[in-house]
């Protein structure tokens, strides 16, 4: 564990939803810190509050009470626009269903976050998008459209898009949920590579298998932290190599 100040710090976080006359307590007081360079998995079954957690961490939702400090900034009181700015500059999202713009090339998809950052010139935008695509091994798919790529390739484009604005944290939401085991492991290899390069990653999943590729697992249950443990990180490349070769279909 790093000895720096936490890059992300939440304290007694609560989130209630009004459902008609009833109030649902999705988060009932969650606290944890994530330090720079950590690769953390947030685990939990459906209803555990992990989606709510992710929405708040991603600055798309605000807690009912408690504190959330991201990269030294208190986010609880920020306006819609200010939150949008934080999302654009400090957070990189990777979604379960990739969320690439259809009929839009890989590089244009990757450039997208930079379009909302007026400080970046179009030449700079292109350079950084190419760099990000290179990082996920898609230098040869720059001008492909999403429907011309496999699920794994699409998810790699999405990862490149999350990297392009050089965020302080990458938030992945069930990023392997739509993929088969081999492709999932390939994607985890990329995340482990990003981790080695010093990126901070929070990975939300309900698969314990995937959690073993990170170094720390926070398990949520009924809106509370049930377990928070640091553990050995399983090597995704080794796991991938250990898989039986893909079946050949006649």
């Amino acid at each position: 564990m790093s000895s720096d100040l936490p890059i992300l710090s939440i304290e007694n976080l609560r989130r209630d939803f009004k459902m008609g006359s009833e109030t649902v307590h999705a988060l009932r007081g969650v606290s944890f810190d994530i330090f720079p360079g950590q690769f953390v998995t947030i685990m939990g079954t459906s209803g555990s509050g992990k989606s709510t957690m992710l929405n708040i961490l991603g600055c798309m939702d605000k807690p009912t009470s408690g504190h959330y400090i991201l990269d030294g900034e208190h986010t609880e009181r920020l306006s819609r626009d200010a939150l949008a700015r934080i999302r654009g500059k400090k957070i990189g999202f990777v979604f379960q269903n990739y969320n690439l713009l259809s009929r839009t090339t890989a590089i244009e998809n990757v450039e997208l976050p930079l379009l909302y950052n007026s400080g970046v010139s179009s030449a700079e935008r292109r350079r950084r998008a190419l760099e990000a695509l290179d990082m996920v091994g898609l230098s040869d798919r720059v001008n492909h459209l999403p429907n011309q790529m496999s699920g794994g390739q699409q998810q790699r484009v999405a990862i490149a898009r999350a990297l392009v604005n050089d965020p302080v944290i990458i938030l992945a939401d069930e990023a392997t949920g739509n993929l088969d085991t081999r492709t999932s492991y390939e994607i985890m290899m990329i995340f482990q590579e990003l981790h080695r390069q010093g990126k901070t990653i929070a990975f939300v999943t309900h698969e314990p298998d995937i959690a073993t590729f990170s170094e720390r697992t926070i398990t949520l249950r009924d809106g509370l932290v049930k377990k928070d443990e640091t553990h050995e990180m399983q090597d995704a490349k080794a796991a991938f190599d250990a898989l039986p070769p893909p079946e050949e279909f006649e």
């Binding site: 929405n55 991603g58 819609r80 979604f95 713009l101 259809s102 839009t104």
Partner: protein
């Protein structure tokens, strides 16, 4: 977000849905083309009527009996004009350049085997300058010397109808069995778009008509012209004053009606103006419907692209950025429709002009206004859908299937 990037994003979205974009552009195209053509038609007819009325003369004033109409039945006029009125106006009016009575007789002008169904107009010499007629050949009759003389001055249509290339000067025309000697011909004034022919005229001294043709002392109309533009009102009041004074008129209503040329233009053009207005309003409605088409498309677009909007927001787009994107799309649609519609409208006006021979005038103002209205349409009808898009919650938008 800088405008260039905004344009790029919006145009890409429009190109992704070519057919839909094309159809909503088409709605605006039809609206704008209709407006341009209708306005051109209205403006064209207005101009041609104006020219028509100007050919009547310069600063002309017409005095007529004040026919009382009750329930659509024309009652007897209370007062008739007479020769002494003309003389009184000629002698006393200071804002008048010339004055002439006008008495007409309908019949056939005959020369040998040729005839011409031309109205015979009894006038005095001033009538020529009031109506802008000029002598082409021969002379005009003189009010004093040719009093009651059996002479006439004829227009070019009559020359053509009766004399077939021969020189008419000195020849005799028979009108209602009365021989009239041709002493002059008039220069051609051409015909107006009303269809009436300014050259189909036979002028003779008004006393000739009064004594020899209609045996009356009444005069149907008095023509006059004021000394210049801007004096029409004063001249009108002066004439009315003279006419009232001669009759010791004390009733509150005027004994006669006096029209200035401007009033006549206004009267005649008001009908065509009304028609043009109605046509333009109908065309405007079609533009409005085109705008609703845009709104509809933008709504569909926002709903269909909810997920895209959610994604854009998740990666840093502010509500304002989304608003601008969709607004830019709707304005692009409406302006594209505007440009194409203007071109189409101008082309249609030209076609109507050449093929059907209608007077069409595409005014620069109508083009500019159409373009501005298109921009406003785009903003107005794009605003609500764009606003809706910008207010979406990123979490729910991303979850939208």
């Amino acid at each position: 977000m800088n405008p260039l990037t905004l344009a790029k994003i919006s145009l890409r979205a429009l190109l992704r849905n070519r057919m839909r974009t094309f159809l909503s552009v088409l709605g605006i195209v039809i609206g704008v083309a209709a407006v341009i053509t209708m306005v051109a038609m209205g403006e064209g007819s207005r101009q041609s009527i104006k020219e028509q009325m100007t050919s009547m003369g310069t600063n002309a004033i017409i005095v007529m009996p004040n026919w009382n109409r009750r329930g659509g039945v024309q009652a007897e006029s209370s007062e008739m004009l007479e020769e002494k009125d003309v003389i009184a106006i000629r002698e006393n009016a200071t804002y008048i350049n010339g004055v002439s009575p006008m008495i007409t007789v309908n019949g056939q002008a005959i020369v040998g085997n040729n005839n011409s169904p031309t109205t015979l107009s009894g006038i005095s010499a001033d009538y020529l300058k009031i109506r802008n007629y000029e002598i082409e050949d021969g002379v005009m009759f003189d009010d004093a010397a040719d009093r009651m003389a059996k002479v006439c001055v004829i227009g070019q249509t009559v020359v053509k109808n009766l004399f077939a290339g021969e020189n008419p000067i000195g020849k005799t025309i028979r009108y209602k069995s009365i021989p009239l000697k041709v002493i002059g011909t008039l220069k051609s004034k051409g015909s107006g778009d009303f269809g009436q022919d300014n050259d189909d005229v036979i002028f003779t001294p008004y006393q000739t008509v009064m004594r020899r043709f209609s045996a009356t002392t009444n005069i149907r109309q008095i023509y006059a012209n004021s000394i210049g533009e801007g004096y029409a009102q004063k001249a009108t009041e002066e004439i009315m004053g003279i006419l009232k004074e001669r009759r010791n008129w004390t009733k509150p209503t005027d004994p006669f009606r006096v029209f200035t040329q401007e009033e006549m233009i206004t009267m005649v053009t008001s009908t065509s103006d009304m028609l043009a207005l109605v046509l333009t309003v109908i065309a405007g409605i079609s533009l409005f419907v085109g705008g609703i088409g845009i709104m509809n498309i933008m709504y569909v677009s926002v709903t269909e692209r909810t997920k895209e909007i959610g994604l854009r927001m998740a990666i840093g787009a502010r509500g304002r950025d989304i608003l601008m994107q969709f607004l830019f799309e709707s304005v692009t649609i409406s302006l594209m429709g505007g440009v194409i519609g203007i071109l189409l409208g101008v082309a249609a006006s030209q076609i109507v002009k050449t093929v059907m021979g209608w007077p069409m005038i595409v005014s620069f103002a109508s083009v500019i206004i159409s373009f501005a209205v298109c921009f406003a349409t785009g903003v107005f009808f794009g605003w609500y859908p764009a606003r809706k898009a910008s207010k979406l919650d990123p979490i729910e938008a991303l979850r939208y299937e």
